[in-house]
């Protein structure tokens, strides 16, 4: 089995008590400019394959915030390394998204993206520094820019912003 399938199977155990099947049909991103008007289907938690050539990653997992640490543990056990943690501010849906990128060191390429959506007011996420020590700085940076509080983080102080900063610049309603 290819590493993509192995990983997908391993991650799917997070979702076995979901009623729906893991594969959810999502309309592929159209290359034309009218796609802006199309409505995206609402995604449920699960793992789906993505087209690497158009998107740049192989697996896309949407998890609930309680499943985050378990997902990180599964991926660490399979030999993935953490590339980055990105925050995205979806102000229209009143949600914050944290996107975790993982990749592999060997020649069986498989890029895994783990997403989690949290409400915009009082956002909390569990920290994965117990699994990936490198997430320490990534989480501090996401906290700096978006205000997401990572519970259990050993030292959640501003990393890139000044020590006394209480503003979060990358939020869409941030006024300098």
């Amino acid at each position: 089995m290819s590493i993509q399938e192995t990983t997908k199977q391993a991650l799917s155990e997070l979702f076995i008590d979901q009623a729906t099947d893991t594969v959810i049909a999502e309309p592929p991103p159209a290359a034309t400019e009218e796609s802006v008007d199309q409505e995206e289907a609402v995604r449920l938690p699960g793992v789906i394959d993505q087209n690497y050539d158009t998107k740049g990653f192989h697996l896309d997992a949407l998890v609930e915030h309680e499943q985050l640490v378990r997902a990180a543990e599964i991926l660490f056990g399979l030999g993935f390394f953490i590339e980055s943690i990105t925050g995205v501010d979806w102000i229209k849906e009143d949600q914050l998204e944290a996107v975790y990128d993982f990749s592999r060191y060997d020649f069986e390429l498989c890029r895994v993206v783990v997403r989690v959506f949290i409400p915009r007011t009082d956002p909390h996420l569990p920290t994965i520094t117990g699994v990936y020590t490198g997430a320490n700085w990534h989480e501090r940076e996401t906290h700096d820019f978006f205000g997401i509080v990572f519970d259990g983080h050993p030292h959640l102080i501003p990393l890139l912003l000044p020590e006394d900063a209480d503003f979060h610049p990358l939020l869409k309603d941030f006024k300098a």
Binding site: V36, V88, V99, Y105
Partner: protein, 372 residues
């Protein structure tokens, strides 16, 4: 040198390797708690040159943001250009003509050699050898002159456009590159004898600064830092992009995990880059350097996209979240130095101050890239 058995916690003092320091290659502050000459604990404080590039991306259109890429890691700016061009081309579905791909590879590899030359000079300077710096900068001048004649800038390049390049290269550039490759091969032999073969250097670097494979995986270290620890990972081979699959080159991997292994990885990489440039010059096809059809305003379809390239320091990744407008909705820059530097806090415990600074030099840090 072996580390002492026990560090006395109550006899420590805090030494501030401050933002202004000759060895930190930029504005980086490390708060070291020292027990005499040994480091008990180190805490890196970043953010002294944080310019919020990611917010700038949301306020500029895609072509307008290209010059920012050169300012991130100024020593390896071509590769950053390449990463950004890759992700937007992937998102918007723009084709790149073959000649442009080959020229991109040639310029990126020339930039890689010049970045490694700066690293070599600065690293040996940190160790106290003042002379190789001048030799490295002399060789680097040749590269900078070549690239200036084509791109117009010496350091912060903004040469790539979506779908191709700013302008084509001429015969002078090709002839100059051939001359440079011959010269550089001779110089590499000289560096091997004078610098690498120096017993004091070898004693300073061998068996100092160990980073094992597990640490690399936990921190996400890539580039020569990972390759010096036995991890065979190079984006150009593991996740090929552009025309790298058509070119024949090796990835140097050393298993000793010490500073000397990382040093040797970069020296060998310079030789491999010269190989790549030679082959690319041979295979360079005729043709245009920009696609015939390119949208006037770049508006990638909504969704998120990812691309990664290999810069001189490691795996540079860009995550682009687009909402279909002409500005990016969110652009995340995954800088290799950021993940590499994170190792330092854990790896330097128990080291001597001099060894810790040599270790920092072997990580090849560029602080503006780390802070973005």
């Amino acid at each position: 040198m072996s580390q002492p058995i026990e560090l006395q916690k109550d006899e420590t003092f805090v030494l501030n390797v401050g933002p202004q320091h000759p060895a930190t290659h930029g504005v980086l502050r490390v708060k070291m708690t020292m027990d005499g000459e040994n480091i008990y604990n180190a805490e890196t404080v970043l953010g002294y040159i944080h310019r919020m590039h990611e917010k700038m991306a949301e306020n500029r259109s895609y072509p307008q943001y290209m010059p920012n890429m050169g300012r991130l890691d100024y020593l390896s700016a071509m590769a950053f250009n390449h990463g950004y061009a890759l992700v937007v081309e992937r998102a918007a579905g723009i084709e790149v003509p073959e000649r442009a791909e080959y020229i991109r590879v040639i310029t990126v590899e020339l930039n890689r050699v010049s970045s490694h030359l700066v690293w070599l000079g600065a690293f040996v300077l940190d160790l106290g050898g003042f002379t190789p710096l001048m030799y490295c900068f002399d060789d680097r001048e040749q590269i900078l002159d070549l690239l200036e004649s084509v791109t117009g800038s010496r350091l912060t390049y903004c040469y790539f456009r979506f779908g191709g390049l700013y302008n084509d290269i001429d015969d002078e550039f090709i002839a100059g590159t051939h001359v440079f490759i011959k010269r550089m091969r001779k110089e590499l032999k000289m560096y091997a004898k004078l610098v690498t073969g120096n017993i004091i250097l070898m004693k300073r670097l061998k068996e100092h600064g160990p980073i094992d494979r597990d640490m690399c995986q936990r921190y996400g270290a890539t580039g020569p830092v990972a390759r010096g620890s036995g991890i065979d990972y190079d984006v150009r081979k593991n996740e090929p992009y552009s025309v790298y699959p058509d070119l024949d080159f090796d990835i140097p991997v050393y298993h000793e995990c010490d500073s000397f292994a990382r040093y040797m990885v970069r020296m060998d990489e310079m030789e491999q880059s010269l190989r790549i440039i030679e082959q690319a010059l041979e295979k360079l096809p005729e043709g245009p350097v920009n696609p015939k059809k390119k949208p006037k305003i770049i508006k990638p379809p909504p969704g998120d996209y990812y691309a990664a390239v290999e810069t001189a320091r490691g795996n540079f990744g860009i995550r682009l979240v687009s909402d279909g407008t002409k500005n990016a909705y969110r652009l995340k820059l995954r800088s290799p130095t950021y993940s590499n530097m994170h190792l330092f806090d854990e790896a330097c415990r128990g080291m001597l101050l001099a060894d810790a600074l040599a270790f920092m030099g072997s990580l090849d840090l560029v602080i503006p890239e780390m802070d973005r």
